[in-house]
Amino acid sequence: MPLSREAIVEGLRRIVEPGDVVTDEQILVESSVDNFRKLQNIFNVHTMPVPAAVVMARSTEKVVELLRFADEHGVNVIPRTGATATEGGLESAVADSVIIDGSAMNEIVSIDAYNMQATCQCGVPLQVLEDRVRELGLTTGHSPQSKPVAHMGGLVATRSIGQFSTLYGGIEDMVVGLEAVFPGGQVTRIKNVPRRAAGPDIRHVVIGNEGALCFITEVTVKLFPYFPENNTFLGWTLKDMATGFAVLRDVMVNGYKPSVARVYDPGDAGLHFSHFAAEDDCVLLFMAEGAAGIAKATAEGIQAIVDKHPECTQVPSEYIETWFNDLCWDASKITAEDERIRQTRNVNRTTEISADWSSINDIYQAARARIIAEIPDITMMGGHSSHSYINGTNMYFNYFFNVVDVGPEEETSKYYLPIIGIICEETLKRGGSIVHHHGMGKARAPWVKDEYGSSYYVLETLKHAFDPNGIMNKGTIIPL
């Protein structure tokens, strides 16, 4: 017999301070969605089941008690910290869910500048950690666009990646150890070591679990020396994405590690670079950083590679540096963007995938052409590659559409999900991955079996083993 909303709230209030159980109706309604339904949020039109409560967890012990309670009574739990998710991972898919909010667990536990690692609770904003380590001449190397607002727990839970990933890696390359609480209240601590070969690397059971297996309470990440004075920017315009992908491949295959390596298609370039790029120009850009010798050698190596492509026209580095310095989103930019959408009903969405070098341009071309042909009211359809590897790269589709003749509640079904569907289909057809760094959430969960293929067995077994009662973030990664 499931507990009533009232009984859930009463049970929660016995575990944490009553003030830490939030039942304010507006907060609950707003907490029923994340940025996947941002248009609904902007117009305050909500269609998802309203959670029973948002619970502020202030310690690992409280998370243990909360998960025990939820597991015992079959209450769906949605873990969150910074609440900046974009793929529906924080949506309450079923009635009377409980959101466990770890944003109050915001202590930086230690910064170990000798062993080059920092430990912090899940609710530490990345910006706060970065600012603290910068005072010591260090950096986390992690800089997603959400850096000013995202928290460490959520970043690890969604396998986040930052703008400097080509040098520092994604969050999975940075996390050396962590603490997580599993349903039933089992606390797991994975120690901080440089490497291990003692069986499977179980960090990866936790990293990217999106709250569907456990609640991350603490993470330890690597630190790196910070040499901003050596940052070197390089930029070119060019006429096609195929050349851009080819240059990125050359740079990666030749072993260079620029922190930023991107190619923008003309549509996306028009949003950022129209003051120096023509309407049909792609833009290729790099940032080399690190110790002086490394930054210099990286920049020179890249310059030599691009010089072999006469179709690329170099632009002054100041254009790239100025763009770079205005890149991150903060609260004021988000508010301004919401107001723009409110007035124009012109919505910006993104979907990121990855594929090998042989396939990426075909995926980009095919998905773009289909979206323009099949989806109405598109105002911009473009994208860029921003995270490259030795064997391939990502494509970050960036698109805008006008929401016409439907209410905010139908924006996802009329426009967003059909676009995601096209991108997923074209990616899967060519062997790519349908999610590069935002997480599956609930938005892309319908394609999970196609994404995993025969390895879906492992994912399903993990879910059954760690969450046998199915209380962890129903509908996320694995659809309802």
Partner: protein, 305 residues
């Protein structure tokens, strides 16, 4: 009704680094009236179509490397003009809508966007550099275009623009055209008799006036602050249309002469200090922090009331 909307394309000053403002503090702008108008591309100027549009480092704040955006008041003016046009067409009346900008080719993408949005006419008066601190020259060009070339009935434009924000251009244009000028406009609706109902935001509240054309409407802090966005299909439909490009001489304006007689000249540009003082309130619980805030700040304010 023949409507003309004027807009300016300006560097995105929000994207300028603070260090650029600091560096600019040590530079002295070139002397003479109408700074920003007689500058050619600097010797170390950037590549691409943005070159030479705005100041290089020798002249003040270096804006060459930041993107260009629609000036915010002008963006409101463009959307208000579109809405007025929609309303007129909805009532079965003709509404010929035109757009004008002044400066280097940086405005062209915006003019093409306006064509895609249904503007019938789009024109740019070419000047080598931005007329950032030359309101007399700007007004002379707008008035000449509206009066002699476009023969508009109604001019809609922002009440002021970046970076100077002097707010005199609408008045100067109105004076030269001999038209009335309504300022701080926030809304415009057509009336059945051909006149307009214009909402203005005054110091004491909103005013609703009935206006006859021709007139100049200077748009202030309107609720409408964003321009709608054309679809790719809309853009495709005007792919082959190019905005008209005119020289000041085509309008009968001797730009160099007007600039020589321009009024006050720019002495220096300085960034606005956006740092705000803050106090972190200590307390173990939100209740304790709220109490501390009340005791330290709010209690005394309430007592004063």
């Amino acid at each position: 009704m023949r409507i003309l909307a004027y807009f300016k394309v300006t560097p995105d000053y929000e994207a300028l680094r603070e260090s650029e403002w600091s560096a600019a503090a040590g530079r002295v702008p070139s002397s003479g009236g109408g700074e920003g108008t007689s500058r050619g591309p600097s010797a170390d100027g950037g590549a691409g179509p943005g070159r030479g549009e705005h100041a290089g480092p020798a002249d003040g704040v270096d804006t060459r490397y930041v993107r260009r955006i629609l000036d915010c008041f002008d963006e409101s003016a463009l959307e208000i003009a579109l809405r007025l046009s929609d309303a007129l067409v909805g009532r079965g009346r003709a509404a010929g809508l035109g757009a004008l900008s002044i400066g280097a080719p940086g405005a062209e993408p915006h003019l093409k966007t306006l064509l895609a949005l249904g503007f019938e006419r789009a024109a740019r008066v070419h000047t080598e550099a931005a007329l950032d601190f030359a309101p007399a020259a700007t007004a002379a060009l707008i008035a000449a275009y509206a009066g002699r070339i476009d023969r508009s009935d109604l001019l809609v434009l922002g009440a002021r623009s970046s970076p100077g924000g002097g707010g005199t251009v609408p008045f100067r244009v109105a004076e030269q055209l001999g038209w009335p000028c309504l300022t701080q406009v926030t809304e415009v609706e057509p009336l059945a008799d051909g006149r307009l109902r214009v909402t203005l935001m005054g110091d004491d509240g909103l005013q609703r006036l009935t206006a006859r054309t021709p007139c100049v409407l200077a748009v202030g802090n309107a609720v409408v602050s964003h321009l709608r966005v054309p679809t790719l299909t809309d853009r495709l439909a005007v792919r082959d249309r190019q905005p008209d490009v005119l020289e000041p001489a085509d309008l009968g304006v001797d730009l160099a002469d007007v600039l020589r007689r321009e009024g006050p000249s720019l002495a220096a540009l300085e960034g606005i200090d956006r740092h705000r003082e803050g106090v972190l309130i200590a307390g173990d619980t939100p209740r304790a922090k709220a109490q501390a805030l009340f005791d330290a700040r709010l209690k005394s304010l309430l007592e004063e009331l």
